[in-house]
Symmetry: D3
Subunit: 214 residues, 6 copies
């Protein structure tokens, strides 16, 4: 093509053909100061958005103190931790497992892509026909875990392990069953009824994990 | 596993790994004081949510006075009636049909699972090739009705009938054609044009059902 | 309107304007003889579809023998049990709870609308912040349970109880944790690692519930 | 950049990084010889796809003979008429209205964008609160009609009118209520029951429109 | 049916069965004064909605001044231009191409149905296997373009051409690569790196199209 | 709870309540021997599924030979490469960038979460208002890139760099514009028309990148 002199027309005319607020439709950084809704949070004013709204560095640092019963820690990264995920339908989690560390049984509504980052873990899940699937996962290997199935992983090496998880939703909802059952306020007499555990075992686990309404 | 004394660590550390507002992502009780949007209503403050926000008792009581032209009544239960449905993608309806009661032709954008609760009804729908499907539905039987197809049901027994309907959407949009056509403000001369009915019939039905712009 | 004689034109012309296979797009009864896919099963030949493909009577009968450890039974109704649900985004379940019957902790990827049908149950769920929500549910009352959260219910009356559940998906995936953990083939040494239970308790539960790889 | 000689590397290496069947994931032309499913039809072999699979010319020609009771005709264009729409979540319809032509009340599960192409029509819809919305639509003007609401349009000019409709689904399911009720096989005695019309009117309309089971 | 006198009951009872705010669920006209979210804008007060909220006339007029480098202009119509599209999952665009006019390479996340309205254009797209598909599109013909693939069209006739495009989303996000690359603020040294163009060519195009950070 | 002897009942009864083919609904490993459809591939026989169907090791190894014009290589991992992703709504990509390596401008229909794995890259994207966002991304840092926007990254360190990308779709459709334009079969005379490049530049780039129809 040719005709350079007319580029002023292009500039003024073409821009005028795009609504000044159309930038809002490319992305929607969460404004956490407003209440969210079923689809996420209202958008931050696009004119105040910078590249930093799209970057998150928290996966790079350990997710927490692993001096605990499980010798492990996790950091769940949803919209509330990384507002740039709002409406992007993806989120993540970092798990740190010290030697003999364990991430106990947990589940969430969406699928999970589990990535080995450091060390080696045995990772597994159980399907709704009660069949278990498990394998050792090394650095750079991934395991796809179907939605809502109980899964776990634990360090099988003599060095700490790190895993990253990725979810096709901007909010994943990790429920850890040890805590749901024994760190919650569900009365012991109910737990006696709805689990196969006897009263003594229920009491022991509630004391261990910090549950209330013993 | 073992080592009880460390459970204080577990308690403090694990909780600290979950954002205090993460509860918002498990559910979103509608705050009806705010305007809704295409995906539903903004969420009520999670710290104010109780189990009662998840319970609805209105299906248990008759849906209304059946002393009317159809000897029937319905109660449509969407987010506005049961805020706990917000974002849950399910809603419901109760219909009460007195002896000889009828729920006239209606449709809505999503599928319907119609459950017989009391008595017996003949329930049917018509597909877009103008083929009718109908059958007597007794207590505990269900009929699945595809999205947006006209359907109806009427009591065929000598006792009152009750049905419950369930929809895979937190807002269903029941449009009853008798009312859409003859209880609305659509001018009679338009109805004359766009229905196969003559003017006298249109006038008669508008008077019967309470339409305006005769 | 008027002009009766031309109705032959209408008949022939209008029909000719709709593809003879358009009926396929109103519904898609599952052809279970073919493999399914992520969105469901291929459609049965529409010309062979009758009203019976849209009706299911199995909710009306007890879901199974309740003479078991839980004094309860459930029947899960997905596409495989009711092919008419294919693509309709809704499915259901019936639970029968004898006196003192229990439906133990379970979860699934989609929300659940739990309906009291007979008797009274205490129904509850635990959110991902480990807060428990529970209430007595009587006939005609519903509880909405958010996706993927552990929930339970048990009979609190002196008569048998029946509940129906409805799900906004044509496949729900009930995973009962007692069976996932202790009726599965997951080796005991793994369960020792990833649950807070000691070896003796794990063995006891596996024996009780029929697990393998003790 | 520079270094021309290496372009052979680029060519061979880069291509080898894309699976030869990856083309299948850009589009999925319907193979109508196979049964469809809830999400559409299986894909035609990508190696046999040409640009003609993406082009449809049928909107350009009249949709049918308008010498009928409604002085109008429509052509509904779904996957079955245009296999390139498979999985593309959009479809269309052409309506031809002769002078005094009418497209009678109809509905479908998805929204409709109605475009005036020739002449002028009055187009309207009725919401589920029985409020009517209608306006004259001229060439190049559009009316957005919400999902599943009854709508209609008719020619108000002294020349033929043409409209195109666009739907955010690759299958729209037009149900015309005149035909659903009076061209179907639904027995007259049922229509007597579930419509506000008396027997004589039902018989008259069934005869007019070609219904069976009088 | 019969019994006219009771129609007052019908009127009062039936209306009372529909929540006064249920109208909000049939449609959700965007309230542009509030921030949008991932699913669109909050709804305008339904009591203030009129038929004009559902009508848009801007497609009928030229989309802009075509005296520019491309001899063309486009008008993109999203929620911000037509608030009635909010939540309706459909939007549109008008392109005007003067003689020898071009709509340069662009893409967007959703599919496009391109309709020839006036004149003739050559329209084409390139798939992710780098295969080009193109054809002359005349009045009334449509081309379906898969999501996110680069496409273009240009006038091949001796008269101006007009096209309309329809998208299965209430926000489409047209990105024109000439402007993204050469009208943006991306520094020239970066463009030198990430395009196969040399520095002189990059500078020339930035000057032509009005880019900054030369 | 108690009563061990009855566990045989549990075992036989509970299992009999779950359809033997219900396992198909937890996951759907792609059967690549069958044609896919808009929602993915038909499911592999569940009885033949092993844990290896859920594991992929290809991210751990270099994605290809980086001795090329871009000093880089990528490996795109969709269902065709990892059948376990079928229906899981997530997929991934590995990029290897040698010193001074570049991943040129590309786009795809879904969002991308770009993770720094080794070394340091400058990563950026341009929105549909032609505003550029870019930043240096180090090991463990992530950048979220909105759907369908042009983006790029290049090595800014003196050591090789590796990145992983994750997408909320089981098929992402990377289109690299250099190849779409200059490695395709689109005739040069068309490229002259629809790009701002002159004929000589088009010819040069087609020769460089291996395009046909010069």
């Amino acid at each position: 093509m040719s005709s350079l002199p007319v580029f002023f027309f292009v500039f003024s005319i073409l821009l005028s053909q795009f609504p000044t607020n159309s930038i809002a439709s490319d992305f929607c950084i969460a404004d956490l100061s407003q209440p969210d809704g079923p689809a996420g949070y209202p958008c931050k004013d696009p004119s105040k958005v910078t590249v930093d709204d799209f970057v998150y560095s928290g996966l790079a640092v350990p997710s927490g103190n692993t001096t605990n019963f499980y010798n492990s820690a996790i950091r769940s990264i949803n919209i509330e931790q990384f507002p740039g995920l709002n409406g992007m339908k993806i989120s993540m989690l970092r798990a740190d497992l010290d030697v003999s560390g364990v991430t106990p049984f947990h589940a969430h509504r969406v699928a999970e892509l589990l990535l080995g980052v450091e060390g080696s873990v045995v990772a597994g899940f159980i399907d709704s026909n009660n069949t278990a699937y498990y394998k050792t996962l090394n650095k750079g290997e991934v395991l796809i875990i179907p939605p809502a199935l109980l899964h776990f992983f634990y360090n099988v090496d003599s060095t700490p392990a790190v895993t990253y998880s990725f979810y096709p939703s901007d909010e994943h909802h990790v429920q850890i069953i040890d805590f749901a059952l024994f760190q919650s306020n569900l009365p012991s007499e109910m737990l006696d009824k709805v689990t196969p555990l006897d009263h003594a075992e229920v009491q022991k686990l509630k004391k261990l994990l910090g549950g209330t309404n013993l």
